[in-house]
Amino acid sequence: MALTRMTDSADSILIEAAINGDKTAFAELVGRYRPAVWGTVRRTLGNSSEGEDAVQEVFLRALVSLPRFDRRYPFGPWILRIASNYCIDQLRRRKSRKYRLWSDLSEAEEERLLRTMSTKPNIENLALEDLTKYLEVAQSLLNRLKPRRRMAFVLREIEGHSYEAVARILGVPEVTARVRVWRARADLHQRFRKYLAALEGGIRNEKTL
């Protein structure tokens, strides 16, 4: 999916038809952009059960805002901006709730996985069970990032967008997008060190982070 080109003519026709109430045209747009929206939502919000509802909500918001969409710009970043705003809202709501900081793994297992993460970049040889545990620890580290930084990090590092595309999706200048990604990297490293230090010290206390 090209995120930087102008809205292509096919998208433009579908958008026009969708505004006029053509459900099939909108379904076609959903089919085109749902994988990108799903990937962004899932990787930002993590393994939560709200994934499918989130995608539904994003397309609902898109349909309501569709008449105001400026067709001089590409549709991809626009729908991803709606998805990003939705994810940031959800992350802020979660922040106000109490949520689990530590994974369900044992301390020894967490420590072993964190040590592997910091010394071995290759995870090909990990067993599936270990990979699942690894993912849980990675996700719990990611969960601690501030919503805006996390969103920028996911778009840049995991979804692999350029800074220009990240900036367009987030609706911020490119330099702001870059700063958010850099800060997210620094935060991750800092939390990782604290996390590991807490495990080594046997302190499983939320206040330590």
């Binding site: 109430g21 459900k23 099939t24 909108f26 379904a27 076609e28 747009l29 959903v30 089919g31 749902r34 799903w38 990937g39 899932r42 990787r43 994934g51 499918e52 995608v55 539904q56 397309f59 609902l60 918001r61 898109a62 349909l63 309501v64 805002s65 592997t116 993460m117 910091s118 010394t119 071995k120 970049p121 995870i123 990979l131 690894y134 993912l135 990675a138 996700q139 580290l141 990611l142 590092e157 995991i158 800074y163 870059r178 990604v181 850099w182 990297r185 991750l188 490293h189 990782f192």
Partner: protein
């Protein structure tokens, strides 16, 4: 050493020129801090990327039909128009409007009241220090006010 550690992000984003790149790579071979940072990010990104995305159950047609069904409902439209940014700016505008309508007239009223009270006090016969004639008719009071309160 510290300066080279600061190049970490630029290295990761491919912003260093070949010479700087070479310098940073030699630095990374000896700097545990940068190496750990790099390993951590690589493995974290990789493990999340390699996670298989579950297949979505609903077909695009169902998503579209649901969206059309919901988009006309009053609660969706209300929530859409009351999105935080709009809601807060609307509230701020209301507060400003309310301040103009309520605080400003009440301030004028209070200033008019104070002026009246001063006049009454100055014209009070029991107030020997006042320089206002003690018995004033309305005409005289008006003239007195027009002349700036200096009638003899």
């Amino acid at each position: 050493m510290k300066r080279l550690c600061d190049w970490f992000n630029r290295h990761r984003d491919g912003m260093l020129d070949p010479e700087q790149q070479r310098q940073f790579e030699s630095h990374m071979a000896v700097c545990e801090e940068c190496r750990t940072r790099s390993f951590l990010l690589n493995s974290l990104v990789r493990v999340i990327k390699e996670q298989e995305l579950p297949v979505l159950a609903g077909r695009p047609e169902q998503v579209a039909a649901h969206a059309y069904e919901k988009c006309g409902s009053w609660d969706v439209l209300l929530l859409f128009w009351l999105r935080p940014a709009r809601a807060w700016s609307g509230l701020a505008l209301l507060v400003i409007l309310f301040s103009f309508l309520w605080i400003l007239p009440s301030a004028q009223q209070s200033s008019a009241n104070s002026e009246y009270e001063v006049l009454m006090m100055e014209s009070d016969p029991s107030n020997p220090g006042g320089n206002t004639p003690t018995t004033l008719t309305d005409d005289k009071l008006e003239r007195w006010l027009e002349q700036g309160g200096n009638i003899q």
